[in-house]
């Protein structure tokens, strides 16, 4: 099947019910998207599917066909959110970080603290208690 990941066309050979998470991590060799639970609860696998945050562990490969997938690797490294996460200690162990950043991408410009808390309610961080993440996003 064909899909567009981070602006690049990719051809992968995966059964249609393969998890998008596995397609990205294994077939596309993009391991920046993480698996924390495989049940939609932790948000570590968050990617953008046509611009909307989704849990890649709950998306069949078939649904990514002809869609635009964006993963953490697609942000380059100099994205304001990435810089702010680095600066404000928002990444401790870092396993939730790619998913957090992807979920935060869906926020409107100049979000309020409440906007941030609601947008990230599907992303669990066990290290930070979230406050450093808020500081990063609000100042990005």
């Amino acid at each position: 099947m064909r899909l567009r990941v981070n602006g690049r066309e990719m051809e992968v050979d995966a059964p249609p019910m393969t998890r998008l998470l596995d397609v990205l991590r294994i077939h596309c060799e993009l391991p920046g998207t993480k698996e924390g639970c495989g049940e939609g609860e932790c948000g570590a696998c968050t990617v953008l599917l046509d611009g909307e945050p989704v849990c890649a562990c709950l998306v069949p490969a078939a649904h990514a066909e002809s869609a635009e997938v964006t993963t953490i690797e697609g942000l380059g490294g100099e994205h304001p959110l990435q810089r702010a996460f680095a600066e404000h200690g928002a990444a401790q162990c870092g396993i939730c970080t790619p998913g957090m950043i992807m979920a935060a991408l869906a926020l409107p410009p100049s979000p309020t603290l409440d906007d941030v808390r609601v947008a990230l309610a599907g992303n669990i961080c066990r290290c930070t208690g979230y406050h450093a993440i808020y500081r990063a996003i609000l100042r990005a």
């Binding site: 998207t33 049940e39 953490i72 690797e73 490294g77 200690g89 939730c96 609601v118 930070t128 406050h131």
Partner: protein, 702 residues
């Protein structure tokens, strides 16, 4: 320019925010197999037969007979087998290991295990198998209690708690050069090294353990990785291929260690004026099926059981017993959150009995410099229990809010607590940790076995070394924690990585500076080639500890803290929402304030979960809610605003005055929250304080 005390960029930030940091599941090796563990489904019994009714071509199968060394997880005792031979002692105990190149094939294989079930024990109060017991005695409790007029008694309970690091446990074992290399998500590379040596019967130099980027540990990757590493190594040796063994969430929750449940009883004598006269404390912890780390968890729990208070007559009787449940183990705090929960809720009840203000009651009894703890340790000038208490009360406006909230749906409560830094008693002396510095092209390279698990080890160590050597932070590098190239700095636990290992590094730096004179280490390296300085832990002068009597200096020093929780109860649903949290914590010196705040905020959030949400439901000895959908940890919307105040009363034991910071933050939230709930008129003595328990309490209280 000195960097200690400043927020330099984390060494690992760039990789983590770009997704390029490599966690174990992100690695692959040519020809690598995937592995799966077949486990017991009953809590106790004997194995009659193991059948593998599938075509075994392509599969590697390992059971206990494939273990070349000893079938034991080497830790404190060797009672836990790596793979069950005959006797099953808990659900999810590993029996058979499978490996296959294709994950799907691995999933399809069916293994049938026939067992004769035996009666199992789940209630620690029924257990007669004592894993460890100890007594701490100061003064004469019975005589003192006999002459006090006010005696307050109570029993307090805490449940299991799951670490729930977001990266599940996992390793890859690679057969190499006639030996084995294990890459893994772990906290203690040398624990794994030792476990492999014993299980495989290999000499030390044929085993190499490398820590990969680790997605959280909190104690949960202290001892269990030894089991997984040995399993993967056995499969790798048999198949002669690299083998990846990564748990999924369910397996991780079902099989790996959790915080010990506890039952703590208090009988306390006080004068009518509020002076503590005698404390009689009984601690029971459920260790699960094997010894693992229970003796040391119990010991830390017991030593902290009388809290940061002065009292001339104290007796603490503590024991850990076995049940037929998966072994409990290390979790941030290591016994202290359980016993300080009990104590701080009990203290609140005493204040209530006396009709005293809870802060005033604690103020009367808090340890001051020169006072002695339960083990008879004289606390030094860095004891700041009074200061943190006062500051927390002030910052949170405790007294005004206590009045203002009275009779509303809001409550406010506080907890005063402390946490010993480093290993208990003679632990550090026995460990004799080492750390080293080597000059390099860039400047200097840190060689330690301490793991970066999110807390900022690499960054904080580099800051200590940079300032001790007087070189820029950027010129300090850190070697990968690889047992073949770094010295054993002891495990990454017990809030010891800064105070103890950081202290050794500081001494390395001082000696290196003396050796290389005024040169920049990079310049020295260019002129003279590599110079390596290795130092070993040296016990501070005047520290004495007696392991037999539990008397003496239990820790080199303590950190001190006071938490204030403000909560709101929904009168319809009995749900308690924390609305604001004040944490005033004296950790000696914040080498990196952002990292320290991160530890306090993160530990506090975990403590809030412990207090209100996190309940491991055990059924027939198995975690019945082993999914993240049913084991609830705080989300963004459950975590209140926090006012974190870092206090710095330096200790002469740690580098730049630093003490431990990692664990203490989880000691306070549960009692502070439960005391805030008590302010609402609800008598809660067990956590988590779920709405179901609050609803029950609401029937009897008010």
């Amino acid at each position: 320019m000195p960097v200690v005390g400043t927020n330099v960029p984390r060494k690992d930030a760039a990789e983590k925010v770009t997704g390029s940091a490599k966690y174990v599941d992100d690695l692959a090796f040519p020809g690598m197999l995937h592995a799966r563990t077949i486990r017991s489904t009953i809590a106790r019994g004997r194995i009659r037969d193991v059948r593998l009714p599938f075509d075994r071509a392509g599969y590697t199968v390992v059971d206990y007979r494939d273990i070349p060394g000893r079938n034991a997880v080497a830790l404190i005792e060797d009672d836990q087998p790596l793979l069950v031979e005959r006797e099953i002692r808990h659900v999810a105990e590993p029996i058979v290991l499978l490996a296959h190149q294709d994950r799907d094939a691995l999933l399809r294989a069916r293994v049938e295990i026939e067992c004769e079930p035996l009666e199992a024990i789940f209630d620690p109060q029924q257990s007669v198998q004592v894993l460890k017991d100890l007594r701490i005695v100061k003064g004469d409790v019975d005589a003192a209690l006999a002459r006090t007029d006010v005696i307050v008694e109570g029993e307090y309970r805490t449940g299991h708690q799951e670490q729930l690091y977001i990266e599940p446990n996992g390793v890859i074992a690679v057969p190499e050069n006639g030996g084995i290399t294990v890459y893994g998500s772990l906290q203690c590379p040398f624990y794994v090294h030792k476990a492999l040596r014993i299980a495989l019967g290999f000499p030390a130099d044929r085993i190499r353990v490398v820590q990969t980027e680790t997605g959280g540990g909190f104690g949960g990757k202290e001892e269990y990785p030894s089991v997984i590493a040995a399993h993967a190594a056995l499969l790798a040796l048999k198949s002669k291929r690299p083998v990846k063994l990564v748990y999924d969430r369910l397996e991780d929750m079902l099989a790996t260690t959790k915080r010990h449940p506890s039952i703590v009883r208090h009988r306390t004598g006080v004068t009518r004026d509020g002076d503590l006269v005698a404390m009689d404390i009984d601690v029971l912890m459920d260790g699960g099926a094997y010894v693992t780390l229970s003796p040391v968890v119990l010991s830390r729990g017991a030593i902290h059981a009388a809290g940061p208070y002065r009292c001339d007559h104290v007796r603490i009787a503590a024991r850990a017993v076995a049940t037929n449940t998966p072994p409990n183990g290390a979790f941030r705090g290591f016994g202290a959150p359980q016993t300080q929960f009990a104590l701080e809720v009990h203290m609140e009840r005493i204040a209530e009995t006396l009709g005293m203000d809870p802060a005033r009651f604690r103020e009367l009894n808090a340890l001051r410099p020169g006072d002695t703890t339960a083990t008879g340790q004289r606390v030094e000038a860095d004891c700041s229990a009074l200061q943190v208490l006062e500051q927390a009360a002030q910052r949170s406006d405790f007294h005004a809010k206590r009045e203002r909230y009275a009779g509303t749906n809001r409550g406010i409560g506080l907890a005063l607590f402390f946490h010993g830094a480093g290993f208990t008693g003679s632990g550090e002396v026995t460990l004799a940790s080492r750390a080293a510095l080597a000059t390099s092209e860039r400047g200097v390279r840190i060689l330690v076995g301490s793991a970066e698990i999110g807390q900022g080890t690499r960054t904080m160590h580099a800051q200590i070394v940079a300032d001790s050597l007087g070189i820029p932070y950027d010129d300090v590098e850190t070697a990968l924690p690889d047992t073949s190239s770094v010295p054993d700095s002891g495990p990454t636990v017990a809030s010891r990585t800064c105070m103890v290992v950081g202290g050794i590094l500081q001494r390395c730096a001082e000696e290196l500076r003396a050796r290389i004179g005024d040169l920049h280490p990079a310049e020295h390296f260019r002129r003279h080639g590599p110079t390596v300085v290795t130092k070993q832990y040296e016990p501070p002068h005047g520290i004495r500890w007696d392991d037999d009597t539990y008397r003496g200096d239990a820790y080199a020093t303590y950190a001190w803290a006071c938490d204030v929780a403000e909560v709101e109860m929904d009168p319809d649903t009995y749900e308690i929402r924390p609305i604001h949290f004040t944490a005033v914590q004296d950790i000696g010196k914040a080498i990196h304030p952002t990292l320290v705040a991160g530890q306090i905020e993160g530990g506090t959030a975990q403590g809030i979960g412990y207090a209100l949400l996190e309940e491991v439901v055990m059924r027939d000895g198995a975690m019945a809610n082993a999914q993240m959908t049913n084991y609830l940890v705080p989300t963004t919307l459950d975590t209140p605003t926090m006012d974190v105040v870092i206090v710095e009363t330096p200790s002469h034991h740690g580098p730049f005055g630093a003490k431990g910071v990692g664990e203490m933050p989880i000691d306070g939230p549960a009692p502070a929250i439960v005391n805030a709930i008590r302010h609402l008129g609800l008598d809660i003595r067990q956590i988590p304080a779920t709405p179901e328990r609050i609803a029950e309490a609401a029937c009897v209280s008010v």
